[in-house]
């Protein structure tokens, strides 16, 4: 620490540059992780809001809620501590001024996936819906009567709820009967038993159903199978991990060049009997100081710029994830320094003193 810190103090410019590079990389990593979380939330936030452990769909739907089709009788056969039926469809909603792609959830008011109302009131009559407040930002208001694509029915927004997006589309929550009217029109009476899935809270999801036609899956599996969700996450995570490797390489190169410049100095110290261990620890400590300061500044910058971003940018900072990435960056930087440690160990003190 003594050598490491004194050297940084004496050569401020050189080490500020290294720190700057680490800061920029960490800034990018934090931002990408924010984007990854933000985009993931866009897809899953309404599902997370259920706070469920599993969902029952038909086996042939291949884990897609929209493609799954079962009946209220199927729901009777499931024995879970808590369950809620759900129907879902996608539509374009228009209030006359704005058109917006929405997901419509048909639910029962007394079951646990009923959303909390943050503004207005809950639906009580047919054709009343609670809307995701993402629609509010688009200019939709309480009292708006919405025309829906592919149906003559209209629905009225009576309240808003937060965190209501499913697969990036804002959700309209309505009574199951409202949903059936919207979906089947005149045939709604005939289809009043139709639902898309059964959301459950149970300790062991896999034993929920013995029916071969049904499939009970963990909620996390359901989320991973949302269209595009896994692909998008893999892409962003790949970028993050690649940045970590790049930062390790950059740190390794920087420190290696600095170490090579100091070979004779290390040689002299080794001739005096200062151990390899002490010198190596000093280089590692130095890297740790640089990486820690760089990452912390990057962290602060990310939070500051995050505060000034328009809400249309889907960035959401998860502090725990960011701390994990920050630690990962520091660890890979230190690994990069080990490359220089090898060089130090190999220095022959004899050469340094010109013997």
């Amino acid at each position: 620490m003594f050598l490491a810190w004194n050297e940084i103090k004496k050569n401020k410019l050189r080490f500020t540059l290294i720190m700057g590079v680490l800061m920029l990389i960490s800034y990018l990593v934090f931002f990408l992780s924010g984007l990854a979380t933000g985009l993931a939330n866009l897809n899953r936030e309404s599902v997370d809001k259920w706070d469920a452990t599993g969902i029952v769909l038909t086996e042939e739907s291949d884990k897609s809620l929209l493609q799954s089709s079962l009946t209220l009788d199927d729901a009777e056969s499931i024995e879970a501590e808590e369950m809620a039926v759900i129907s879902q469809m996608n539509a374009i909603a228009s209030n006359g001024d704005t058109k917006k792609n929405v997901a419509i959830f048909g639910i029962r008011e007394d079951e646990f996936i009923m959303p909390n109302v943050t503004e207005g009131k809950a639906f009580s009559k047919s054709n009343e819906v609670i809307a995701s407040d993402a629609l509010k930002e688009e200019g939709f208001q309480i009292g708006d009567e919405l025309d829906l694509s592919s149906t003559e029915e209209t629905v009225t927004i009576v309240g808003f709820t937060d965190e209501g997006r499913f697969n990036a589309a804002p959700v309209l929550y309505g009574e199951l009967s409202t949903f059936h009217k919207v979906k089947y029109g005149e045939a709604s009476e005939m289809n009043k038993d139709q639902i898309n899935g059964i959301v459950v809270r149970a300790d062991d999801v896999s034993t929920l159903t013995k029916d071969d036609e049904l499939e009970a899956i963990e909620i996390e599996t359901f989320i991973e199978n949302l269209p595009g969700y896994t692909e998008q996450n893999l892409t962003l995570n790949f970028m993050i991990y690649f940045l970590c490797i790049i930062s390790a390489v950059i740190v390794a190169i920087f420190l290696y060049v600095l170490t090579v410049q100091k070979i004779s100095m290390f040689g002299v110290m080794k001739a005096q009997g200062i151990s390899n261990g002490y010198l190596s620890r000093s280089v590692v400590a130095q890297t740790f100081i640089l990486a820690a300061i760089g990452v912390c500044v990057g962290f602060l910058l990310t939070l500051i710029s995050g505060a000034f971003l328009p809400s249309a940018v889907p960035v959401s900072f998860d502090i725990v994830t960011m701390i994990v990435y920050g630690i990962l960056l520091i660890v890979v930087a230190v690994l990069g320094a080990l490359f220089s440690v090898r060089t130090i160990v190999k220095i022959d003190p004899l050469k340094a003193i010109g013997g």
Binding site: F2, L3, N6, E7, K9, K10, N11, S264, M265, V268, M269, K270, A271, Q272, G273, I274, S275, N276, Y278, P349, L350, A352, I353, G354, G355
Partner: protein, 228 residues
């Protein structure tokens, strides 16, 4: 009391007809409190001798014994420890760390070993060397002679039992050179250390207890009168 002993030490580089015998069979003994000079033309094997004594170079044959420890039987890690504890190097090339002030050069030694000089002893040493005003300067701000004196302070600060100096007075003017020799002599006598100085500087011969001459890898003890 013998502090340092070389018995049947040789050193050769290369093999076959490119083989160079840098140091022919050498037997050498130095007692505590002795100030010894090694003189000789460049390329005669003086530096080889000094690096073997300092445990930086392993002899081809023979043994080096420092304070009853057989240096040649130890691995590099243990030799490194002996260098740290027992030996003070004053090197021709400056052995100062460029990013540490004079004071911190000494402090570094406190970090890696115990038994260094006390604060008052260090103050006295600074004054003897005339570097007390330089304590907060970096090596780059010092002249060659000042750097050399700081390097000497650094070697003495760790209270070594053996001081190995390679041309310690090379970049000093005559007055300063005499002062440095005086200091090394006092240090040798007061602390009962063994000091070996490799030098070209024949003006200084008078300070030494013994003068050896190195010629083509052969070390011979000179009679003092004939050396000067």
């Amino acid at each position: 009391m013998t502090a340092l002993e070389l018995s049947h030490v040789t050193k050769s580089f290369g093999t076959g007809h490119t083989k160079v015998n840098a140091l022919k069979e050498t037997n050498f003994q130095a007692d505590r409190g002795e100030l010894i000079a090694i003189i000789g033309p460049s390329g005669s094997g003086k530096s080889t001798f000094l690096t073997i004594v300092g445990g930086l170079l392993t002899p081809s044959t023979g043994d080096v014994i420092i304070n009853n420890q057989k240096l040649t039987a130890l691995n590099e890690k243990k030799r490194s420890k002996i260098r740290l504890q027992e030996i003070g190097f004053i090197l021709q090339a400056s052995n100062l760390i460029p990013f540490l002030t004079v004071d911190k050069q000494m402090k570094l030694l406190d970090k890696v070993k115990k038994g260094n000089m006390t604060k008052t002893e260090l103050e006295q040493l600074y004054q003897d060397l005339g570097i007390e005003s330089l304590r907060n300067k970096y090596p780059a701000d010092l002249s060659g002679g000042q750097r050399q004196r700081v390097a000497i302070a650094k070697a003495l600060y760790s209270n070594p039992s053996i001081i190995l100096a390679d041309e310690p007075t090379a970049s000093l003017d005559s007055d300063r050179a005499y002062e440095v020799m005086e200091l090394l002599k006092n240090e040798t006598k007061n602390k009962n250390t063994t000091t070996i100085v490799v030098t070209h500087d024949t003006r200084l011969i008078g300070y030494f207890d013994k003068v050896y001459k190195m010629t083509d890898g052969v070390l011979t003890l000179e009679e003092k009168e004939s050396a000067s």
